[in-house]
Amino acid sequence: MNGTMLITFIQQSIRLSSTLLLGSTGEMITEKSGNLNLGTPGIMAAGAISGIVGAYFYTSSSAAFSPLLSILITLGCCILGSLLTTLIYCFLTITLKTNQNVTGLALTTFGVGLSNFVGSIINQRMGGTGVAAFPEIGKAYRTTLPFADKLGIFGDIFLSYGFMTYLAIVIAVIVAFVIAKTRVGLNLRSVGENPATADAAGINVDRYKYVATCVGGIISGIGGLYYVMDFAAANWQNNILDQFGWLSVALVIFAVWRPNIAILGSIIFGALYVVGPFLLGLSTKDQELLKILPYVVTIVVLVIISMRDKKENQPPESLGLSYFREER
């Protein structure tokens, strides 16, 4: 690997990492409230397709194209779409106390199915070429700072990304701070650890779960949008986001439920995922085999955490359980 390739490799890794980081930051907030949301892949897909829907309507309107407006519209649609999808999960698991695993899986089926369905309709309306593409919007999302390319290697490695990459890191840092250092974070953690205690302490458990899961869902959804708009340059493709959704869920474990570790973890995952073509001399099939690595690494981390059995590194204690105050 020569220098140029190395830089491209780093750029690619970081680009992909943003999707994973947003996805897993969202899932972390959700899990901190005691909800294991296996619907994350579905939410990411739904968020992404909502953005695409926004893009379709914006570009097919007669208004003059404005990059900023296109970003605002797609982002707004994405937030709305992922929020609505997450609300299905919230209503079922929190209000109706259904099983979280089953609900989450059903939500993934739903979200991925919906995104494929809507995607194919938009594709058809746009002429049925197989891809729904919005190159102008992709360009808007990938706009870098004007002086980024004048700063040599530093600029290439640190400043060559669209705004969402930085947004992802900022969100992760903020979430890490809120969880560890604020009253809200303390309350949130107590809801995930021991909802009965939180309830007795005067915390509205259901409200915390709703808000955390919805905020988490929106952040994950933005992760999906990032992938489509920035990484894939506003090209919609069916069935692409669920694997990144599951990788995001995996990243939560890898980062032992800490968003700041997830920043590094997402870059490692991103690197493992894109490294194939950069390893010269590797055949295509071996590159394919390399894609196993993020999953295997996660499994290893999972097993090690459980073997060491340290109290600080465990999942929230009531993760996956519904809470009912009058349970006897």
């Binding site: 294991l36 296996l38 299905i88 079922l92 109706l96 106390k97 259904t98 099983n99 695993n101 089953v102 609900t103 899986l105 059903a106 939500l107 993934t108 089926t109 739903f110 991925v112 199915g113 919906l114 494929n116 369905f117 995607g119 194919s120 309709i121 058809q124 069916n238 069935n239 694997q243 599951w246 869920v249 995996a250 474990i253 295509t284 099939k285 394919e288 085999l289 894609k291 196993i292 999953y295 295997v296 996660t298 499994i299 999972l302 097993v303 459980s306 073997m307 059995d309 999942p315 996956g320 009912f324 009058e326 349970e327 006897r328």
Partner: protein, 377 residues
């Protein structure tokens, strides 16, 4: 004035209490209402998309499931295909059930089935023509079952010894399996199309034979047997009893001298073995091909089927039939409109949402502010 009144009320607007067990009849009614609501939403959705008369839609869905023979197959009736699909979903649901009953959240059925498929396909390519076809089928069968079991045993060992979270572990194993299949295809495929097409198309090595001139009969027979065996195993066998005890309380299991680790590993192995068997049936009895999306999410759907049926093998029959028929029917009904196949997934999830939501009403009672006479639950 209403404002003042609300301030003075003494009960919250809605107050939820747990109820004693509901009768079977009541729970059935609740679930039927749930399914009816789901079907209504589904058909409204299709109507909204296609703009057709709902009755026409239902007719088309019925056609799609039972329907007329497919154009150029001659032998196959469409309903056989529908039944077969439902049977495959049923079988995966049966596979995950013993583990679930033990509260082992095996969501790796997708990967376990896929590994079964991979093994069968490998055997077809490797031994096809070298041994007698019946011997080949036996090898495929045995190898798939073993590989499926091994794929499930790995997380179960970690669960038994270190209490590793099996939900996340088995989830990851799915993707490892998918990647392995992609890799396998690339290794075996010399054409560079990344697609093996139909394996042994000319020779038919490793194909399950047709019975009574029909495809799928072999698979359906196997699945019938598995259903009956699973029902008996869970309800009447000592091992089935042990599974229930471990699932209800590991402490009780230890207390009466059950080797919990052994039961966990054994049960999950059975789960994985049946998944492997399904993989064999998909490849040898239906698709005669391999690709990483061959299981098509049925491993996940099966988890929901098993849960909705409350782990009762008999109840799983109508539920898997409902889901498959709805999905097949909706695809057929919308096919004229060039709509993406994923409409089936959307409808499936709507049905699942409604059925699991029903559970709330069987477990809890909703009390509104002014109860008009408090009936006993």
């Amino acid at each position: 004035m209403a404002d003042v009144r609300t301030k003075q009320i003494r009960e919250p607007l809605i107050h939820i209490t747990k109820r004693d067990d509901v009768s079977f009849a009541k729970s059935t009614v609740i679930h039927l209402i749930g399914i009816a609501v789901a079907l209504l939403i589904s058909s409204l959705l299709i109507v909204a998309i296609t703009g057709q008369n709902p009755l026409e839609i239902y007719k088309a869905m019925y056609e799609g499931v039972i329907g007329t023979p497919i154009a150029n197959s001659g032998i196959n009736k469409k309903y056989m295909e529908s039944i077969h699909q439902a049977a495959i979903l049923l079988c995966i649901s049966l596979a995950v059930t013993p583990a679930f009953k033990m509260k082992f959240w095996n969501i790796g059925a997708e990967g376990q089935v896929l590994m079964g498929c991979l093994t069968s396909a490998y055997c077809m390519l490797e031994f096809g023509g070298k041994v007698d076809n019946s011997v080949l089928l036996v090898i495929m069968f045995a190898a798939s079952v073993v590989v499926g079991a091994v794929w499930a045993i790995i997380p179960s060992i970690c669960k038994a010894f270190w209490n590793t979270n099996e939900t996340l572990f088995t989830l990851m194993m799915n993707y490892v399996a998918m990647t392995l299949v992609s890799y396998f295809i690339m290794v075996k495929d010399k054409s560079g199309r990344s697609d093996l097409g139909i394996i042994n198309e000319r020779t038919g090595y490793g194909y399950l034979p047709n019975l009574f001139d029909r495809n799928y009969i072999f698979n359906i027979l196997i699945i019938t047997v598995v259903t009956v065996l699973m029902f008996v195993y869970l309800k009447y066998s000592k091992q089935g009893y042990e599974i229930s005890v471990v699932g209800e309380s590991e402490n009780t299991a230890r207390y009466i001298g059950i080797n919990v680790k052994k039961v966990i590993i054994r049960t999950v192995a059975i789960s994985g073995a049946i998944c492997g068997l399904v993989g064999f049936m998909i490849v040898a009895g239906d698709k005669h091909s391999i690709k990483s999306s061959i299981v098509d999410g049925q491993g996940f759907t099966a988890i929901m089927v098993s849960w909705m049926a409350k782990f009762n093998p008999i109840l799983m029959i109508p539920i898997s039939a409902l889901i498959v028929f709805l999905s097949v029917g909706s695809k057929y009904a919308t096919s004229a409109f060039r709509i993406d196949n994923s409409i089936g997934d959307i409808l499936t999830s709507i049905v699942i949402f409604s059925i699991i939501a029903c559970e709330f009403f069987t477990r809890y009672k909703v009390n509104f502010r002014k109860p008009k006479g408090r009936g006993k639950a």
